[in-house]
């Protein structure tokens, strides 16, 4: 599974740590870490909660397009 660099960058933009985001969303820090690393595929419910917390849409954070895949391969 691909790394979710969008989530990582959006979180960094708001100056939030993984632990802070996890607390706001109501999950463990390890879960946020696993999502960012691409080790865990969250449910739509959790995706929505993360998007609401970060003030972004699902497309902004979780939509994968071809450009992302190519940039990760490089």
């Amino acid at each position: 599974m691909q790394k979710n660099l969008k989530l990582k960058s959006m979180r960094a933009l708001l100056d939030l740590t993984q632990a802070e985001l996890a607390e706001r969303v109501g999950v463990s820090r390890q879960t946020i870490n696993a999502i960012e690393k691409g080790e865990y595929n969250p449910t739509i419910k959790l995706c929505t909660a993360i998007c609401k917390t970060l003030g972004k849409t699902l497309n902004d954070i979780f939509w994968e397009d071809d450009n992302d895949e190519q940039s990760q391969i490089r």
Binding site: E23, G26, V27, Y40
Partner: protein, 146 residues
């Protein structure tokens, strides 16, 4: 860290997988034990044989839960578990040792005695406690590094 006092979806998924491992281990142990008993090899007294057959999968399951960080939800629960398990297991081990010194052996005729079975039971809980303490220390070091 977590203040919702509930496991999140990823943790529940991990716990489900771990419980499945425990179930498979339980079935495997029952089959092995049935095979041994069928061939006339009795390795423990009846009560402790059944108790250990139950406890070994719980032991495997507990270690996996601890090291995958889904054993207990809060730090308070972790401390309570450590407290109860350590006091109980150390007291039990000491009791077994006292009985051993009084002449109750742990193994006779290639078979776990009642005292030996009790010692094995308490050692299982003691090992779970030690693992929980190690994981707690490891987590503290990791959080202080962040």
């Amino acid at each position: 860290m977590m203040n919702n006092h509930k496991f999140d979806e990823r943790q529940l998924w991990i716990r489900g997988n771990i419980f499945m491992h425990a179930f498979i281990a339980q079935v495997a142990l029952l089959l092995v034990n049935a095979f041994l008993v069928d061939n006339g090899f009795i390795w423990a007294e009846r009560f402790h044989e059944n108790l250990l057959l139950l406890l070994i999968p719980i032991f495997i399951c507990s270690l996996e839960l601890i090291f995958r960080d889904v054993y207990v939800q809060t730090k308070a629960q972790r401390l309570i578990t450590i407290g109860i398990f350590s006091i109980g297991s150390i007291f039990g081990i000491i009791t077994c040792m006292v009985d051993y010194r009084k002449g109750e052996a742990f193994i006779t005729n290639d078979m776990l005695t009642s005292n030996g079975g009790s010692l094995a039971t308490f050692l299982i809980f003691f090992t779970i406690t030690v693992c929980l303490i190690i994981k707690t220390i490891k987590d503290r070091i990791a959080s202080s590094d962040e």
